[in-house]
Amino acid sequence: MSTLQRDPEKRVQILDEDGRVRDGATVPELEEDELLEMYREMKIGRHFDQRAVSLQRQGRMGTFPPMSGQEGAQVGSIHAVADDDWLIPSYREHAAVYGAGVDLAETLRYWMGDERGNQMDGQPVLPSTVPIATQIPHATGMAWASKLKGENRVFMCYFGDGATSEGDFHEGLNFAGVFDTPSIFFCNNNQWAISVPRERQTASQTIAQKATAYGFDGVQVDGMDPLAVYRVTKAAVEKARDPSEGERRPTLIEAVQYRFGAHTTADDPSVYRDDDEVEQWKRRDPIPRFEEYLRGKGILDDERIDAITSEIEAEVDDAIDTAESTDRPDPSAMFEHVYSEMPDRVAEQREAFEQLRDRHGDEELLE
């Protein structure tokens, strides 16, 4: 398990900035198809992101958190888990959630203010969590429940660098250490928590080293290198499923990366960070790096890229059409799913609400 037992301060890297394999790096063994699928998912993540931002700009969607720059970490990690392993995302893992099988149209519906997009029926994905770090104990609890049930599943929890400052990060990881749950705590360290840079978030040199406090492994990986992310995550998955003697199941992975865009569409990053910094990180853009790597391996060429590009554009177009053509939720849906059975008072409120709508009509009501 050498991948994980290395010094947390020594970042795992495979590809260099130009997509060449670094000297001495061990490339994970992946089928061509899977490599191409990873490429496609990264591309669709980037394209989806751009379209979503412009939907927001056009007033067709509410606030949206873009993820450009972070595709490598999301796609690399999601490919390392099995189909029935679980994902516990925050709010920025659009590509990972897609990789787990969730339709882009669902993600759009959610960001269009419709809870139904958060349901993801049938997929091993918990709804997005907005309050920072609060999903971490849930992930530990799910993993623990699964272990108690005698299953052999792995639970991957995503969160940001800022999240590591919250008490719930601490408590969730500490429980995982004590109860030895099959957990992967995957930190998307994108250098910023809105306007607060990583160095002001904690005085710890790396986030990976925080695992020391919980008695399990922590590892830092180049989060803009999907191969490195894949390798590290795969090792963590295997260990979670079947640790060797004296070894602990959980792992903290710090994937070092960068958010190219704004924190959300409501944010203006030029207020707090320099373009220079952005430009420097863009040189490590996971997509061209991975593209070069695949070209070098001879499994990707211009033609193939064009085909993929048209395919994903069509898929995103479709998703937008689907999301926008779905009926808006029925206003009375508010009153449903508060409890398994609607209490009398809620039913009375729904009744009064329906009468109000009848009396005024929706247009007058909301004017």
Partner: protein, 333 residues
């Protein structure tokens, strides 16, 4: 009063023993039920509410956790979402606040957020209320916080029989239930309780004493005191005592019906007056039955001050005399 089978053998239990029996029965019935919290395992709970469970069901189902309330409730939410039925213990209600975010932001909302795909069949048990000479933060009764959060149910038993039956209902309930146990009466008296598991329905108040002059709505340890005060007033005033038992959802029907009969009411609770549930109940009554109202509804409550250290706690809690005087005020208005 409760659906316990009158035929089955009974045992004479205190309220805290009945809680323990309730846990035992549900854990036997359903392998998905587990108990977790600080000192609930080997130690059997600081009030012995989980006494013997660890020996019976082992460390995978009776779990001593690290000292972290958000961690306890947060991991339990994950377990509940994954199909288990965790019963968490918060050692004292005054220590529930570190878990407040997990309770209101997640337990209460998981069902809504996922449009019913996920639910959170979890119970958060906590000893609650004052009167046992405990240190600071050990005597709170802030049930109103939880009643104001849609998606939660809130239950307070006041008898051993109810404690067992309501806890069973809470555990079997598909939604998260905050289950507050009045520790002042944990061992104050015994009651014959059926040995078999049974449920007492949530959402139904119990009329502890019928009366025609005034309705007094209360719960927890104060239900007991209120009945005492009512007995003392008997002859002078005929008091109806309604033990609400479930605070969310409130049994508005029983409240309003009782009030329509008497036209006068008081509410007794330990929590501070301002923002306490007495306000909610009073407001509901005047909404539903103003035309029956013959006197202001009196709120007989704790004061709008932090719960004092124990030298003064007996003055803080509504005493039988304060309750009786309050009831007299309502009747003599």
């Amino acid at each position: 009063m409760s659906t316990q089978d009158q035929q089955s053998t009974t045992e004479s239990l205190t309220l805290v023993q009945a809680v323990c029996e309730g846990l035992y029965g549900e854990m036997e019935r359903d392998d998905d039920v587990l108990v977790m919290g600080e000192d609930v395992g080997k130690n059997g709970g600081v009030f012995r509410a989980t006494d013997g469970l660890y020996e019976e069901f082992g460390g995978d189902r009776v779990i001593d956790t690290p000292l972290a309330e958000s961690g306890i409730v947060g991991t339990a939410i994950g377990m509940a979402a994954y199909g288990l039925r965790p019963v968490t213990e918060i050692q004292f209600m005054g220590f529930i606040y570190p878990a407040f975010d997990q309770i209101v932001s997640h337990a209460a909302r998981l069902r809504t957020r996922s449009r019913g795909r996920f639910s959170c069949p979890m119970v958060v048990r906590a000893p609650y209320g004052g009167g046992i000479r405990a240190p600071e933060h050990h005597s709170e009764s802030k049930e109103a916080f939880f009643v104001h959060e849609p998606g939660l149910k809130v239950v307070v038993p006041s008898t051993p029989g109810d404690a067992k039956g309501l806890l069973a209902s809470a555990i079997r309930d598909p939604d998260p239930v905050i289950f507050l146990e009045p520790k002042l009466i944990y061992r104050a008296f015994r009651e014959d309780v059926s040995e078999e598991p049974y449920t007492t329905p949530l959402g139904e108040a119990a009329i502890r004493r019928e009366g025609s002059d005034v309705s007094v709505f209360t719960w927890g340890a104060m239900a007991y005191r209120t009945v005492e005060a009512a007995e003392e007033l008997a002859g002078e005033i005929d008091v109806e005592v309604v033990d609400l038992r479930t605070l969310s959802p409130l049994d508005t029907d029983t409240i309003v019906e009782s009030f329509k009969k008497t036209g006068r009411a008081a509410v007794v609770h330990e929590a501070p007056k301002t923002g306490g549930l007495a306000g909610e109940i009073s407001a509901t009554i005047q909404e539903e039955a103003l035309l029956y109202q013959e006197a202001p509804i009196k709120r007989i409550t704790g004061f709008d001050t932090p719960f004092p250290l124990y030298a003064l706690e007996d003055y803080y809690l509504p005493e039988a005399a304060r309750i009786a005087d309050g009831i007299r005020d309502v009747v003599n208005f």
